[in-house]
Amino acid sequence: MDTDLFVAWFEETARLVREERDRLTRLDAAIGDADHGTNLDRGLTEVCKALADSAPESAAEVLTTAGTTLIRRVGGASGPLYGSVFRQMGKALLTPVTLAGFSAAFEAGVVAVERLGKAALGDKTMVDALAPASRALALAVRDGVSVQEALDQAARAAAEGAKATIPMQARKGRASYLGERSIGHEDPGAASAVLFMTALATVAG
């Protein structure tokens, strides 16, 4: 897992988010304020620019740059939350990057967002997609599967986790204001987390 792969990860995520922007915004319209797609699209465009400009020399640098850019450019709840995921990953990632090292860094990122957002599994947030993805990665490392296989499993776990947010009642973020009316809708942040994980699996292929 080299530096280019990490750059490609964000480029592919940016492409996917652009493609899915309106769906993300629609999900946010249902239980939030209709800006999640726009927010992430703006943020990832900036991330790609920042990566192009700074020519990072390590995977850790890619992650830190991406995280800082998200914090500095997105705003809203998802900006600091996603930003913290990647900044924390960047801090935790050891060189050279192995699947095990990536898995550990990813888990550190997920913990960072749980702490910052005070969110736990089942609160109907991005954590519900990110935490299962992290668990899938850890299991893949334990089982010694290929990088590609591991990332595919992580993407699948994220997708299942996002789907599982549909019947949940939100306890964090704007959706929590709706009380029971938040039930029956997929969490936009969980849906965008799936895009991150799918993008990673794609570029690794």
């Binding site: 915004t25 319209a29 249902a30 239980i31 939030g32 304020d33 209709a34 800006d35 726009t38 927010n39 703006r42 914090i71 500095r72 450019r73 997105v74 705003g75 809203g76 709840a77 998802s78 900006g79 600091p80 939350l81 910052l116 957002g117 009642q169 306890r171 964090k172 973020g173 704007r174 929590s176 204001y177 709706l178 009380g179 009316r181």
Partner: protein, 326 residues
């Protein structure tokens, strides 16, 4: 969607340019609105901000007796930490800076990050969370900050103008928040420029109860009713949470697309309700102050006054959207 804009992407920037052109008393840089004359030595600085789309909140409340700076995020999107840091440094007069933050995950996180990163300036924060439509429980992100933000900014601003120290300014801000409650009702959804269509569909015969200020759907949908009944629903919710008593500051606030005439119709009902509970409206505001783009509807905010707060409310204020006494 029909809006007076150039492009969805440029709307915040374009509106800020309009503010700069209209108000020589303001200086606007990088999506932060400052008082043109800069910080006053020894005065606590007041910084607020949040997503745009709530105008005049916050940008229209920068000026003597109220805010020193307001950070304008994208539509309904909390500003990022950088401009908050800039604003904090820019308004410091050596006496520290108060961040007035509406209680939304995004606002809280971005202001927190900014406060942590600011160096050399003492920063205190107050969270505004007045919206009784949201239960303040473990199962929510806590109450939203809505109309009472104006009360907090005005009253804390007046105290800061008098030269009070940061701790006292923060304390009065906190006190105003604790004494304030709000509830909102939407007749229509709003349309964000980038989405281009209404955030939610609301049939001609229904209203949303307990809305926020971001086009979030409310807690429940009920049939459209006369202004009297809607005002009662809102006031009952406020009263249930904090019984009305004594002297009250009352704001009937439009959500952006509601004409003044209708707000006065609502105010008459609100005033009658309050009289019925034996309390008194001693100060009031009627108008579009804390809005949600083009949404039709209203919110009512009530603050329990005492003599000290009344005096601070009455103190001179000179901002684009609130002005008296000078």
């Amino acid at each position: 969607m029909k809006k007076l804009i150039n492009t969805a992407e440029s709307v915040v920037e374009d509106a800020l340019n309009g503010m700069a052109a209209a108000h020589p008393s303001l200086r606007i840089r990088d999506h932060v609105v400052y008082r043109a004359q800069g910080p006053r030595r020894g005065k606590v600085g007041l910084v607020s901000g949040g997503g745009s789309g709530h105008e005049p909140l916050h940008v229209g409340f920068v000026g003597h007796g109220m805010l020193d700076a307001a950070c304008a995020g994208e539509i309904f999107t909390s500003p990022v930490p950088d401009p908050i840091i800039e604003a904090t440094l820019g308004v410091d007069g050596g006496a520290g800076v108060l961040h007035i933050v509406k209680n939304y995950t995004g606002d809280v996180l971005n202001f927190e990050m900014a406060a942590e990163l600011v160096e050399g300036v003492e920063v205190a924060s107050v969270l505004v969370d007045d919206d009784v439509a949201v239960q303040d429980s473990l199962y929510t992100a806590g109450r939203r900050g809505t109309g009472a933000t104006l009360f907090v900014e005005k009253i804390a601003g007046a105290l800061a103008e008098e030269g009070a120290p940061l701790a006292r300014v923060a304390a009065v801000a906190q006190e105003v928040d604790e004494r304030s409650r709000s509830f909102g009702i939407a007749l229509t959804s709003c349309t964000t420029p980038s989405a281009g269509k209404p955030t939610f569909d609301l049939p001609e015969t229904e209203v949303e109860l307990g809305i926020g200020i971001h086009g979030e759907p409310g807690r429940a949908r009920v049939p459209l009713a006369p202004a009297r009944e809607l005002a009662e629903v809102a006031m009952e919710a406020v009263h249930r949470d904090q019984p009305l008593r004594g002297d009250l500051l009352v704001m009937v606030n439009g959500m952006g697309g509601t004409p003044l005439m209708e707000l006065y119709v609502v105010f008459a009902e609100v005033a009658a309700f309050i009289k019925g509970k034996g309390a008194r409206v001693t100060r009031s505001l009627v108008g579009n102050y804390v809005t949600s783009l083009d949404m039709q509807g209203f919110s009512v905010s009530v603050c329990l006054l005492d003599d000290a707060l009344t005096r601070l409310w009455d103190a001179p204020v000179e901002t684009p959207a609130l002005r008296w006494g000078r």
